[in-house]
């Protein structure tokens, strides 16, 4: 049991230590430069712009995914009773979730492309102008990349909440209904307390995933227009593999690692209870 674990530890720990050493050295000459690369981050407007873009992306995606997913779970839970219909819904929503993000990017390209895109075609058919350059304007490009995330991952929130709702004890629900609780009260007083820990789990999963978003952005906007959708991973990629400044990229990546670790620490406390079986 120990050899595989040690090997694994080495496989992950070594690159991370390598990162630290890269960050304190000049990549080309190998000389020690102290905190130069970290100091540089504080004077780098592009870094702050990518932070801001990431914050917008994370907030928008999380809010829409969790809001819609929860609402949809409640809707299905209370209206659809038959087993086969529930299975059908499950199958329908699992498909976007397992689609490779690059393929989701392709789909989005076919939708948002200005002249031949299907979105503008639909808008034209509805009598609109249908001439929006979705991917060439900052606000609409941000909308486009967030919409792909929502399409793929709202189902995840929905399925988790839906499974959670099914585990709410039926007698508690019936007691509340007998006491004359309405739909909203039923949710607030009975169902939500059951869902809250699952929602925390979903929140952490989605936060870590949106925070490091890369794949579909690269094929959909490439970080553009300008740097509107240049999120953290996209910016780090550009520094490391376009400007080839591995040291600066390593320094910035340590910041990304700290944020991800903080999110995981919260999750670890939460899942730790499950592990202690």
């Amino acid at each position: 049991m120990t050899p595989p674990v040690l090997l694994l530890g080495a496989l992950v720990a070594y690159p991370l230590l390598y990162n630290v050493s890269l960050a304190f050295r000049n990549y080309r000459t190998g000389e020690f430069v102290g905190v130069h690369n970290f100091a540089r981050a504080f004077a780098d407007p592009a870094f702050f712009a990518s932070l801001r873009a990431t914050a917008i992306y994370v907030t928008a995606a999380l809010a829409v995914e969790i809001g819609l997913g929860l609402a949809l779970a409640l809707l299905v839970h209370r209206t659809i009773r038959s087993g086969w219909a529930r299975t059908l819904i499950y199958l329908l929503f699992i498909v976007p979730m397992v689609t490779p993000p690059v393929a989701a990017g392709v789909i989005a390209r076919l939708i948002y492309t200005p002249t031949y895109g299907v979105l503008n075609a639909v808008l034209r058919a509805l009598g609109g102008a249908g001439d929006t350059l979705w991917l060439s304007r900052g606000d609409t490009a941000m909308f486009a990349v967030v919409s792909v995330d929502v399409w793929q991952w709202m189902p995840f929130v929905f399925l988790v909440c839906f499974a959670g709702l099914q585990s709410v004890p039926q007698d508690a629900v019936e007691a509340a209904l007998v006491d004359g609780a309405g739909g909203w009260q039923l949710f607030r007083l009975i169902e939500f307390p059951y869902l809250s820990s699952l929602l925390l789990l979903v929140l952490i999963f989605r936060f870590t995933d949106t925070f490091r978003v890369f794949d579909h952005v690269l094929v959909l906007t490439g970080g553009g227009p300008g740097a509107t959708t240049e999120f953290l991973s996209v910016y780090l990629y550009r520094i490391a593999f376009k400007f080839f400044n591995l040291s600066y990229a390593a320094a910035l990546s340590l910041f990304v690692l700290i944020v991800a670790s903080a999110a995981f620490a919260v999750l670890g406390r939460f899942l730790g209870r499950e592990v202690a079986q």
């Binding site: 070594y14 699992i94 498909v95 789909i107 870590t208 340590l254 670890g268």
Partner: protein
């Protein structure tokens, strides 16, 4: 009661609308993939192609040589799944069957889980440097290794969940009868685990299949490029050939979608590391 019926109708209508909205992008991609280009450029464009053609698939797979990328993806992902399964069994078995201290068990499982939350961009920068120095740049080996490591959180946690469900009695009986642990594992436990191993393999294969960033940065030529890299390079070239792009997108998503429809009962369990037990 009557108003409830109306609510139900409204809810079902809303769900149907949402379902249509959800599947439409997929249909559009597939329809574009089997459409001759002139029809795509027509104003207004045809929805269903007048002349169905599979030319886009042929020209991408054969003329552009994407069959090679498909083969790379298959080889890399299968190798990664095999290695990942063996290693995760080597971890999950002792954790569930041998007397290890609970603190060590928790630390180990949590550490494995933390791999799932490690942003790839953090690891890929040093990895790129290490791999180049080791002469493994643009070599399928480095991707196999990485995919195997990053399949561990899912594989280990899934197998642990399955192992906890297999009762100990049979194994213990075998041990009492004088079988070694190894023999009990191979003759008693492994046959019971077979379906679980298959489900785990399918899910980790699908996840590796979809991976983009590592492949994008660590491969350069058709020697090691995976299929998603082929997809991206069609999308980012100067002049996009729309039906070909749709065709590669269709192939790229068909593989994981079909696989996961097979293993659908385990998908949510895998993605939430057992926090959700599936009933679908």
């Amino acid at each position: 009661m009557r108003s409830r019926g109306i609510w139900r109708l409204l809810a079902v209508a809303a769900l149907l609308a949402l379902a249509a909205l959800y599947l439409f992008p997929y249909f559009w991609m597939v329809l574009t993939a089997i459409k001759p280009l002139p029809e795509f450029y027509r104003f207004p464009a045809t929805i269903f192609p007048e002349h169905v053609t599979f030319q886009p698939f042929v020209s991408v797979m054969v003329a552009r040589g994407y069959l090679t990328l498909l083969r790379n993806s298959l080889v890399i992902c299968l190798a990664a799944v095999a290695v990942g399964l063996v290693v995760s069994l080597l971890i999950a078995y002792p954790v569930t069957r041998l007397p290890v201290s609970p603190r060590f068990r928790r630390a180990l499982l949590n550490w494995i889980l933390s791999l799932r939350f490690l942003p790839p961009i953090v690891v890929v920068i040093p990895f790129f440097d290490i791999v180049r120095h080791a002469g493994l740049y643009d070599n399928p080996l480095s991707l196999m290794l990485l995919y195997a490591v990053f399949s561990l959180p899912f594989a280990t946690w899934m197998l642990r969940g399955f192992l906890l469900e297999v009762p100990l009695e049979l194994e213990e009986a075998a041990l009492v009868d004088g079988a070694t642990r190894l023999r009990a594992f191979f003759t008693i436990l492994l046959p019971q685990l077979a379906p679980a191993l298959l489900a785990t393999a399918v899910i980790t294969f699908a996840l590796s299949w979809s991976e983009f960033m590592f492949a994008f940065i660590l491969s350069a030529t058709p020697r090691s490029q995976t299929f998603p890299i082929g997809v991206a390079s069609l999308v980012t070239q100067f002049e996009i050939i729309w039906n070909e792009m749709a065709a590669v997108g269709t192939v790229a998503s068909a593989v994981p979608v079909l696989l996961l429809l097979l293993a659908r009962r385990y998908v949510l369990t895998a993605l939430t590391f057992g926090a959700i037990r599936e009933k679908a």
